[in-house]
């Protein structure tokens, strides 16, 4: 994967398939701590201990269209190759939490890339699921919570074109404030 945001899109879809109603994506970036942390948490059907042990094995997959599952192994590799760490916690009936920590300055660090686009596509393609996206840096944080949007929208679906356009502009503006604004 050329960007970590693509790994996030990929792994978040495991949450969708696990019938999650809420998916929380947290991206923390800190120059001070030389850290990037990505956490994807869902309330889907979860996995057994045995499945958790197998999930980082490329030859394990729950799908039937082919015999390999590279999503989680690629995500794990991207973190470990920077001297970071990777962890999956899961409980049947409760959900799954996938955490990756990166050493930002490492030569093998993959750029985060267009994480906003990932979040927009997840919302567009799964309008019935709620997403909480939190992105933070040393200077502040931004939050997008589709549950709050839904409250305002009163039944108008999240994948209405104008709503998606609003989400796009909102994320763009907030990101600019986070990265481009005065500290």
């Amino acid at each position: 994967m050329r960007e970590l945001s693509l790994n996030v899109m990929d792994v978040a879809q495991n949450s969708v398939r696990a019938e999650a109603a809420l998916v929380r994506i947290t991206v923390e970036e800190s120059d001070k701590k030389d850290l990037l942390s990505i956490v994807i948490e869902d309330n889907g059907k979860g996995m057994t201990e045995e499945q958790v042990a197998q999930v980082t094995d490329p030859f394990f997959t729950t799908r039937t269209t082919r015999k390999v599952g590279l999503g989680v192994p690629l995500f794990k590799m991207s973190a470990e190759q920077t001297g970071g760490s990777f962890e999956i916690e899961s409980e049947v009936g409760k959900g799954t939490k996938t955490s990756a920590r990166y050493v930002k300055s490492h030569v093998d660090m993959t750029p985060l890339g267009d994480i906003n686009s990932t979040v927009e596509i997840l919302i567009r393609c799964n309008p019935d699921i709620d997403f909480v996206f939190i992105r933070s840096t040393d200077s502040g944080s931004l939050t997008l919570d589709t549950r709050e949007l839904r409250e305002v929208l009163e039944g108008v679906p999240l994948d209405t074109p104008d709503v998606l356009e609003w989400i796009h502009s909102y994320l763009e503006e907030q990101t600019q404030l986070l990265y481009g604004g005065a500290k």
Binding site: M1, L6, M9, D10, Q13, R63, T65, R66, G69, L70, G71, L74, S117, T118, I121, R124, C125, L149, V152, L153, E154, G155, V156, T160, P161, D162, V163, L164, E165, W166, S169, Y170, E173
Partner: protein, 124 residues
Amino acid sequence: MKSLAELKAIRDRAKADLDLRQENPNAARVLVGMATCGIAAGARPVLNAFTEEIAKRGLTQDIVVTQTGCIGICQYEPVVEIEMPGQEKVTYVKMTPEKVARVVNDHLVNKNVVTEYTIGAYNS
């Protein structure tokens, strides 16, 4: 600044034409393969290109863009399937954002399949 007030205005406008939207059983569907294979091959810019092109032409009521999983032909990703009412499903392979405008114009608007981008053409 994007505000919730603005979102409320969008809601009120959307509510007014919500019935129209639901009563469109003839909407075409664009399915972009977005499993690990598709994403790694560049499916995301392809999906974004479709939504942009369709929005630009004001066709968002008539065409639904969504994702699908891996259909087992990973070597041909990014794969895009197009379903139009009364037409057989068409599978486009090795898609790029540059090819999207032509598929929207020729296939989705004018109902002429872009044969050279399809899986059949790629195989022969």
